[in-house]
């Protein structure tokens, strides 16, 4: 056991120290909540880091630490990075928010970037992606291709991010089919391929013919392929798991943002205290190729995407009612970002009671 623990510590230390020889290079460090090959969230961040290597490799060295649990351990890991000469540290999970702020106070000269949080400091910025823009597009596609007029949504936890996605999907679907219905199943996990697949099967057995998910595995995509229905990929292009099922996927593309921020940190133009919430137009979010759908649906999806990118269309534009029928957004009114980031209610038409 002791030996094993030693080996474990040594591995972690080695990972952290990899390539620590070139002292004159600018050091950019990444803290991951999962493994860099998780096929989803963390892998998307690591692909972003690899892009930094590719584009700035001669001036920047990147270092990462995987499988860092959210909580006190995270603070230790971030602090060790800060002490080891990192110029900028990216903490890539919501749960790293408080540890990031705590360490940032102690190291005013180090720059910190926290993903998906809401707390900033003079040397801490936050960055996030407007995933709901992609969800509006896939909702619209579902609304057009579904024959039963009911889609299934496999959801993880009832946090604003997920609720926002469900609402956006339904609004997209109802923009082309006003009677569209949405069945939601909460699996209370981010990552359990088997359970996600079971949820997909249950939804299909109950008559949905399009499924989408806000969980991280390709389990549901495989079920969709097997049962011959359509689905959308999550965080990653999952076409290999569903060559006939995937119509498109919402892909996270962190690389350009990382390159931009690291460049800014190196030439002194980096600004702290900012919150970046980018979307399709900034390239932080992109759609996998539209496929397995009729040409006119594809054309419509491309049109919607272009409209969102140009700012002409905002998914949360009135008239929109809340689930209980009360008015949320009046005709032409656009939701402010604050309401979206704290979203704790369904819009009209979701066939589910929001867990509180």
């Amino acid at each position: 056991m002791k030996k094993f623990l030693f080996a474990l510590t040594a591995t972690v230390a080695l990972t952290a120290a990899s390539g620590a020889f070139a002292e004159d290079k600018f050091k950019a460090c990444f803290i991951y909540v999962g493994s860099k090959t998780d096929g989803g969230w963390t892998q998307a961040h690591d692909i972003g880091r690899q892009m930094v290597d590719k584009e700035l490799g001669d001036k920047v060295e990147t270092v990462f630490l995987e499988n860092v649990p959210e909580g006190p351990d995270a603070e230790r890991a971030i602090e060790r990075f800060a002490r080891s000469g990192c110029g900028i540290i990216f903490t890539t999970s919501f749960g790293f928010m408080d540890p990031t702020i705590a360490v940032a106070e102690k190291f005013p000269d180090v720059k910190f970037e926290h993903a998906t949080g809401y707390k900033t400091a003079p040397n801490v910025t936050t960055y996030n992606s407007r995933f709901y823009e992609g969800r509006y597009i896939i909702g619209q596609i579902a609304g057009e291709v579904s024959k039963t007029g009911v889609a299934g949504y496999i959801a993880s936890f009832p946090i604003p991010e997920v609720v926002m996605g469900i609402n956006s999907f339904l609004l997209g679907a109802r923009s082309v089919n006003p009677d569209f219905k949405l069945k939601v199943v909460w699996v209370n996990t981010w990552f359990d391929a088997g359970k996600e697949a079971d949820a997909a099967k249950a939804l299909i057995d109950q008559g949905v013919d399009v499924i989408t998910q806000h969980t991280d595995s390709t389990g549901p995509m495989q079920v969709a392929e097997e049962r011959g229905i359509k689905a959308f990929g999550q965080a990653f292009d999952q076409i290999e798991a569903g060559p006939n099922a995937q119509m498109t996927a919402i892909e996270d593309t962190w690389g350009p943002y990382y390159v931009k921020q690291i460049k800014a940190a190196m030439d002194g133009t980096w600004e702290g205290g900012k919150s970046t919430w980018d979307g399709l137009k900034d390239g932080i979010l992109s759609m996998a190729p539209y496929t397995n759908m009729p040409d006119e649906v594809k054309a419509q999806a491309e049109k919607t995407q272009a409209a969102i990118e140009s700012g002409e269309l905002h998914p949360f534009t009135g008239p929109v009612n809340k689930q209980d029928g009360t008015v949320w957004l009046k005709e032409g009114e656009v939701s402010d970002d604050g309401t979206l980031l704290g979203m704790n209610f369904y819009v009209e038409g979701v066939d589910d009671k929001l867990p509180q």
Binding site: A193, D205, G219, E240
Partner: protein, 306 residues
């Protein structure tokens, strides 16, 4: 396919890996050894099964690889906990940590790949029978293996002399030793059987349940299998009941959610655990029977003294 059959098929798929892992662990614990490394052996089985099936293109080679991988890892447990008489709880826990770490390393290049799927049974005419055709004649091969294995373990433990000896060792290894029985040999074989079963359960996950490899894909199923053995008070027929009850309530609550009854999903998600515990506690009310079935020297290290 009608919804009735489809739901039952989903339940069977969800329950099979639990049953496979639990029935193996039951034999291990009946021999007086507590191996908490089920999760680790299962996840190693899953990754090795996937890798072998992916590289060879033959899912059956994957199944064999899963079984062998689970058994090999359990052998490591055997050397530490049986030959060196280390603390079984600590050794089992570290086996799980080792399994999860090692599987991540082995599987690094297999994440997200489309693997080989173990095909379902397909008998002309019979499989297409209405209502029960798919259920009885059209499931994945490992489903039939899991049922047959449970029956075989029942027969072995309670109808054969070797099974009696194994149970005697689990109840009192000193007496068994005094009778001239090679305690460690029996325990090694039991531990390896448990490892093979856990590896097979893992193979079911990565070749049938969701034919792919993702890190940590067992997602706690090894621990549920362990709990099932205890709640079933070490009796095979109760393990099968427990595994299927757990699977049924898991799938049932997903359907309840999709139907939109408006019951809080957190409550529904905890139902499988609650239901399984309540039912198994209720049927274990007979204390005398429970005590009789509990292996008395469970988790106690055995060092042959002379």
């Amino acid at each position: 396919m009608d919804i009735f059959q489809s739901v039952l098929l989903t339940i069977a798929t969800a329950s099979t890996p639990l049953l496979l892992a639990a029935i193996g662990e039951l034999v291990v614990e009946r021999s007086g050894v507590l191996n908490l490394g089920v999760e680790g052996m299962m996840v190693i089985g899953a990754v090795c099964a996937f890798a072998a099936a992916y590289l060879s293109g033959n899912p059956w080679i994957g199944v064999i690889a899963g079984i062998v991988a689970g058994a090999v890892l359990s052998l490591l447990f055997g050397v530490l906990a049986l030959s060196l008489a280390t603390n079984q709880v600590a050794t089992g826990l570290s086996l799980t940590l080792l399994g999860i770490g090692l599987s991540g390393m082995i599987g690094e290049n297999f994440v997200g790949r489309a693997g080989a799927r173990l095909p379902n049974l397909d008998i002309p005419v019979l499989t297409d029978l209405p209502l029960v055709g798919r259920l009885v004649f059209g499931q994945d091969p490992l489903f039939y293996v899991s049922i047959a294995l449970t029956a075989a373990v029942m027969w072995f433990l309670f109808r054969t002399r070797t099974g009696l000896t194994l149970r005697a060792i689990g109840d009192n290894h000193k007496s068994a030793h005094a009778l001239g029985i090679n305690v460690l040999k029996y325990r090694y074989l039991a531990v390896m059987f448990g490892g093979a079963c856990a590896g097979l359960a893992g193979a079911h996950l990565s070749l049938v349940y969701t034919p792919q490899w993702v890190e940590n894909m067992t997602a706690g199923r090894g621990w549920i299998a362990l709990a099932l053995v205890v709640f079933a008070s070490w009796r095979p027929w109760r393990v099968i009941g427990g595994a299927y009850l757990f699977g049924a309530v898991t799938i049932g609550q997903l359907h309840a959610q999709a139907l939109g009854f408006g019951i809080p999903s957190q409550l529904l998600s905890s139902l499988p655990y609650l239901a399984t515990i309540v039912v198994l506690v209720l049927i274990s009310r007979d204390r005398r029977l429970t005590v009789m079935n509990t292996p008395a020297s469970l988790a106690q290290p055995f060092v042959p003294d002379r």
